[in-house]
Amino acid sequence: MAQSDFAEAGADLELVGITKRFPGFTAIDELDLLIPAGSFFALLGPSGCGKTTTLRLVAGLEEPTSGRILIGGKDVTGTKSFKRPVNTVFQSYALFPHMSVLENVAFGLRRRGISDAAGKAHEALRLVELDHLAARKPQQLSGGQQQRVALARAVVNRPALLLLDEPLGALDLKLRRQMQLELKSIQSEVGLTFLHVTHDQEEAMTMADTVAVMNKGRIEQMGAPEELYELPKTAFVANFLGQSNLFTGDVTSSEKASIIVDVGGVKIEVPTSRAQRHTGEVTIGVRPEKLMLYTSAPTATPGVNVLGPGRVTDVSFSGVSTQYLVAVPGLGVITVFAQNMEFGPVAHIGEEIWMSWKVEHGFGLADEPGIVPRFSADTDTATIATQRRHQLLAEIEEG
């Protein structure tokens, strides 16, 4: 690969059946992934799901147990790390402690014999607003400053493929926004390919063309941010990206347009096209901001699901919106986000309340019913919903 000049365009990245096993632990499991050239790809996932391992495999710092890695159509599986047209912003920064900030940033340029390495390094440092600290040693910088140096050290090389491992995690909100814009503009200017790992869903959704949600070494779902948010296919994605109200019940009727699910005696309609499973016990859901609140029972309208009455158990005001927790007998606790169009909350703790949402906002998940929860119990509403329902059914049978 010619390395004597900056990449003219991004390269696409293809992972084919990549598996990475550490002794006694499978970190990446049969991963297939295609990132088109010039795209901004975000990888989201809980801690320990294998994001860093994926990046290390692409950078050549780790050897896959099986599978192939292609960059720009060229098989690099056996290529040494220093020969790959890839740069990484390491999660741990890994700035050379014996070099000044400037030397750190110029390191990659010097190795490739690019002219005016120092000038280009200064330019990159200006981009991250650290040019005035160019002469310092990394230990003399704050955590956020070190992170920005790490960013500059990778970006300055203009690689065809840039791997970013939580590159903005240590920055405050304002600086993070600014760096996001810088990154986005660098990426789109040259058309480089970015593979960006982040914990910040908002960052992933605002910056990326494609978002992939990773869990236990596999990609659960990937797609455009809106698509992923509006139509999650698994309980894991529904809860990892934003919040969801999930209900489990049996399908009572399956029409061409929609299926009806009986959740603890309440009939809920979900569009067939938005449901992954159409028979037996299924888990369905709706996003909290899609729910409308009523203080009296709304009249039943076709195309609208109504729940209630329920009792408000918690109200938390957060400026633009208010979060209500509503306990509905037979269904459990439902979360509602309502815009603050009035002054203050519209319902108060203990009040009786009804909720509704348009049928087309519901979604049905692909998870097998009754399987072990794949997400920790405290966040997995699906499991909680199932458990509540089973509890309730047991109580009804007893009574």
Binding site: F82, N87, A94, F107, R112, N157
Partner: protein, 304 residues
């Protein structure tokens, strides 16, 4: 690891505010007393002895206090080749010890990290020679390299060594002995810095287009400099004052005498205490000067 005391961790330039408290002074007191008693007093006595003159019509070995600065001129005039030899041999031994120790320390400290048992075993092997007396080991080498040894005859058959050649009593055997005897002092400090080397820096190097060789040269070596500097000092300083390896009863001959040997014979055989002292003071001063220049050049002042 106990060796950490030898290798300095100067890669972290932490600036700890120094507070002069009474407690610190009290804690320092035994050390200061020790230094005054066992370093300063003998030093003053040594300098004074180096300026003495022989007692007129006195016995051999009888001297009186004086300010005979010529003693220094005399020993420099008479023994400057021995100084040169001492520093030359010590330098060569330091160089060879470094060349042998660095890969060894790198292997134990970096490559063997995955096998702690191997690491411990190899470290033990590095220190193991210390369990046998220094003199015995040097004598053993004298035997191994003696003219009737298998080694010498093998070298002669291979015509690497001329038919009338020797191994013992040559500069080669002296440098060999110095290298061998001071090797652990080089290996251990380098090992302690390499053992702490964060391999993520090496990965960053590889990620930034540096080949393994470049990464070694630009990242590993600079980060292990504190160990290299302390190792070379711990080897060079004792090696330049050594008088065992170069002595004719061990690996040397009359042609390989170093300053240490001269001091020994002046002191023990010739009872010429002022000259022996003058040589000692000079040797100490020169070593200090060389070390100061070296440390200044290598940019690791914070080591001292």
């Amino acid at each position: 690891m106990a060796f950490a005391a030898i290798g300095s961790n100067s890669t972290q330039t932490e600036q700890v505010p120094r507070r002069r408290s009474k407690v610190a002074i009290i804690l320092l007191l035994p050390g200061l007393a020790y230094l005054a008693l066992f370093f300063l007093t003998p030093l003053v006595s040594l300098v004074m002895t180096s300026l003495q003159t022989p007692v007129e019509f006195g016995d051999v070995g009888q001297y009186q206090a004086a300010f005979q600065i010529e003693n220094y001129a005399i020993v420099v005039g008479a023994y400057w080749p021995h100084f040169l030899r001492a520093f030359g041999y010590a330098l060569a031994a330091t160089f060879f010890a470094l060349v042998i120790s660095y890969p060894l320390a790198y292997f134990i400290g970096v490559k063997a990290r995955r096998w702690p048992l191997l690491q411990a075993l190899m470290l033990t092997l590095v220190i193991a020679p210390f369990f046998i007396s220094f003199l015995l080991r040097t004598l053993a080498w004298k035997q191994l390299m003696s003219d009737d040894s298998g080694l010498v005859s093998a070298l002669k058959t291979l015509t690497i060594l001329p038919a009338d050649g020797h191994l013992t009593g040559t500069a080669f055997s002296v440098i060999f002995g110095l290298t061998y005897n001071f090797l652990p002092f080089m290996t251990l400090p380098i090992y302690t810095t390499l053992e702490r080397l964060d391999t993520r820096y090496l990965e960053a190097g590889a990620d930034l287009y540096a080949s393994p060789f470049t990464t070694f040269w630009r990242v590993t070596v600079p980060l292990s400099m504190p160990g290299v500097v302390s190792g070379t000092l711990l080897t060079f300083i004792p090696a330049s004052g050594d008088y065992i390896n170069a002595s004719a009863s061990f690996l040397g001959s009359a042609q390989t005498q170093m300053v240490g040997n001269v001091i020994e014979s002046q002191f023990i055989s010739l009872l010429n205490y002022p000259q022996a002292s003058a040589l000692s003071v000079l040797l100490m001063g020169l070593i200090l000067l060389i070390v100061a220049l070296y440390v200044k050049r290598s940019g690791t002042e914070d080591l001292l």
